[in-house]
């Protein structure tokens, strides 16, 4: 919380990483940049879900819905048919729209808690998908819509603009979007960490660990639950816009329950309740199928996509892997990649790990500090 180290030293690794990320487009080809781009978009969404499910302990399977609201919101607002607003304005409004959609659900999100909210949010995915399919005039129906490119002060984040070469490297859509993604991800990183380390973050953690303790300490339980849901929806909306820009076309079938589950996998694999963990998980879950597709011919057991029935394609192989990863991580390393990293770091520094020995359980990560029996008994006691 209060780090005595001087700022520059503390920020050093972060700055270095940022510089490295800025330099990548000069060295990587479009394939790798696309992986990076999708990973950044996923990371933004995963950070949002992490805030809701990891920090506040509210399970959501409705994340795909809010991604869709962001993506389609942008497409409609910036496109034709639609008001045709300047794309930058559409981006901001799409994020707000996703937040508003989360707010509309808050009568449920504020009162339904923990894993039950997971079931309630199933409704969002299925109803949302239905709307995407049927509201043709806005969403383009089954075939979806193409995404208008983002323009900012005459600069277009797509191939279409005037040709651009920087330091001898031609800047196509991937290169341009890379910087957009990086900027949006930086905003996410900055804001989410501010939230988590500030008053709202502590209130949400308290809400997860003990609703009773939170409320007697002055936390308005329902309001904070709803707020966590709204904020998480806004991050999802932002991720949705970036995904839309990267795909250049939005279709309803992308925003399915499986997508929600992917995001859940990201935060579980990364380790709940941390921005860095969510990011690591997002990169893992996003990059895995893409890498497998690319290197299918060099991998044992994995067949190239579409090579006959019964064989394991790259998509399947990666789903096996991360499905199993969820199970294995929850069984053996409940604090995920983030916990692994901090344990390793602690070992390198030869001091006890800063994480709890019990590990962070998912969703309503319990605390080792509770007397198990007592809390359950108490929870019951408080609901006469």
């Amino acid at each position: 919380m209060s780090d005595p180290r001087p700022h520059l030293l503390k920020r050093g690794p972060l700055l270095l990483t940022a510089l490295l990320l800025c330099a990548l487009p000069f060295y990587l080809d479009a394939f790798w940049l696309r992986i990076g781009l999708f990973s950044m978009a996923a990371a933004i969404g995963a950070v949002g879900l992490g805030l809701l499910s990891g920090t506040a302990g509210q399970l959501s399977l409705g994340h795909a819905f809010f991604l869709a609201v962001g993506a389609y919101g942008y497409v409609w607002l910036a496109g034709e048919p639609g008001p045709g607003l300047p794309p930058a304005v559409a981006l901001v409004l799409a994020v707000l729209l996703a937040g508003a959609a989360g707010g509309l659900f808050s009568p449920v999100a504020g009162r339904v808690k923990g894993i039950y909210l997971g079931v309630a949010t199933l409704a969002l995915v299925f109803l949302g998908h239905h709307v995407l399919l049927t509201a043709d005039s806005v969403t383009g129906g089954f075939n979806g819509r193409s995404v208008p490119p983002l323009e900012l002060g005459g600069f277009t984040f797509a191939e279409s603009g005037p040709e651009l070469t920087v330091l001898g490297v031609p800047f196509g859509a991937e290169e341009r979007l890379w910087y957009l993604g990086l900027a949006l991800f930086a905003v996410t990183w900055f804001t989410a960490r501010g939230l988590l380390r500030g008053r709202p973050g502590r209130a949400l953690v308290a809400l997860r660990d003990s609703e009773t303790a939170a409320s007697v300490m002055g936390v308005h339980v329902a309001r904070y639950r709803s707020a966590a849901f709204v904020v998480s929806s806004m991050y999802a909306g932002l991720a949705g816009v970036l995904l839309a820009l990267s795909f250049r076309r939005v279709v309803p079938d992308y925003f399915s329950l499986a997508l929600s589950v992917d995001y859940l996998a990201m935060i579980v694999i990364g380790g709940l309740g941390s921005v860095a963990g969510a990011t690591a998980g997002a990169v893992f879950v996003t990059a895995l199928p893409l890498l497998m597709t690319r290197y299918a011919d060099q991998l044992p057991l994995v067949a190239a996509p579409g090579s006959g029935d019964g064989s394991i394609g790259p998509t399947e192989a990666s789903r096996y892997l991360y499905g199993a990863a969820i199970v294995v991580i929850l069984l053996y390393a409940p604090d995920g990649l983030h916990g692994l990293a901090s344990r390793t770091r602690a070992r390198l520094r030869r001091r006890p790990p800063a994480t709890r020995p019990g590990g962070t359980g998912p969703v309503t990560a319990g605390t080792a500090t509770h007397a198990t029996s007592d809390t359950t008994a108490r929870a019951k006691e408080h609901t006469p």
Partner: protein, 299 residues
């Protein structure tokens, strides 16, 4: 009028199939506090087994094998995987719920890969036959669904009511710790609960893909999720609530589909998602579900 009776019977048939699944959700929840997101794959597993076995050992044999194997798989999942997750964490049940999602990803991926893009017939004896009941014509599969479900549900209720296991289950649902102190062997009670739920899911699979549905597809498992609204409406801990919730969901779906043309504002195929709309509406009014008993604040 015919349309009405048609929808009514269709709804009841659908509702009784949902009830099989929802009862499983409730049983598992009472025994372990876990929400089973693995049910989609259990359902798919049951259906898949019937599909591949019925040619060799006949439909009845295949169904029996499917029910037993799915029950065993569910029990093994609980005993070998879920009970090891979460440890002494007071929220272990929540950890285990997420584990069921991970397991579901693996199982569904595997079964979907095996099924591929095909529609697998289950070889059920009622096929596409219909029976005239007064003014309406009913598919035999629907009559079978209602009858078989009624028997299975009755059996499950008898288990809840008259067996030591049922008593233990109720004790565990009241207060897991106290039940353990009184000698209830929780690990067995919950594994048995998973077995029962698995068996019911396999049974449900047969009717979900029977006529007029075209057959087993890779997405059939997702139908299991529609029993979640049913169980939630029932308050998650009440078998009777789950039954009523299932009927409500089944009837809603059938009537919305039946009166599609009058409800065209809602879009084509709204029947499929109507259960979720009902759930949201009910949760708005009663966040604890319609039949929530003491554990009200849980939902």
């Amino acid at each position: 009028m015919t349309g009405f009776l048609d929808s009514l019977l269709g709804g009841l048939a659908l509702g009784s199939v949902y009830a099989l699944i929802a009862l499983g959700f409730v049983t598992i929840f009472k025994a372990s506090g876990v929400l089973s997101f693995t049910h989609g794959s259990l359902l798919l597993l049951g259906g898949y087994l019937v599909a591949v076995l019925h040619d060799d050992i006949g439909f009845a044999g295949a169904l029996a094998v499917a029910v037993l194997v799915t029950a065993a798989a569910a029990g093994a999942l609980d005993r070998l995987v879920l009970q090891r997750a979460g440890g002494t964490d007071p929220h272990a049940a929540h950890v285990q719920t997420i584990v069921t999602i991970g397991v579901d990803i693996v199982l569904v991926t595997d079964l979907a890969r095996r099924i591929g893009g095909d529609l697998l017939p289950l070889g059920d004896p009622w096929g596409s036959a219909v029976t005239d009941l007064g003014p309406v014509t009913v598919a035999d599969s629907r009559i079978a669904a209602i009858l078989v479900s009624a028997v299975a549900i009755g059996g499950a209720f008898a288990l809840f009511r008259f067996t030591p296991w049922g008593l233990s289950l109720r004790a565990a649902a009241e207060d897991r710790e106290a039940a353990a102190l009184m000698g209830v062997r929780l690990t067995r009670v919950r594994t048995a609960a998973w077995c029962l739920a698995g068996g019911l899911a396999a049974l449900a699979a047969v009717f979900l893909v029977a006529f007029p549905a075209p057959g087993l597809e890779r997405t059939t498992g997702q139908i299991a999720l529609k029993a979640f609204p049913a169980a939630i409406l029932g308050g998650m801990t009440s078998p009777v609530g789950a039954l009523v919730g299932s009927m409500l969901i089944g009837l809603t779906e059938a009537f919305v589909a039946g009166y599609q043309t009058d409800l065209h504002v809602l879009g084509e195929g709204f029947g499929d998602v109507a259960p979720y709309a009902v759930m949201v509406l009910v949760l708005l009014v009663r966040p604890a579900g319609l039949f929530a008993a003491k554990g009200a604040a849980r939902v």
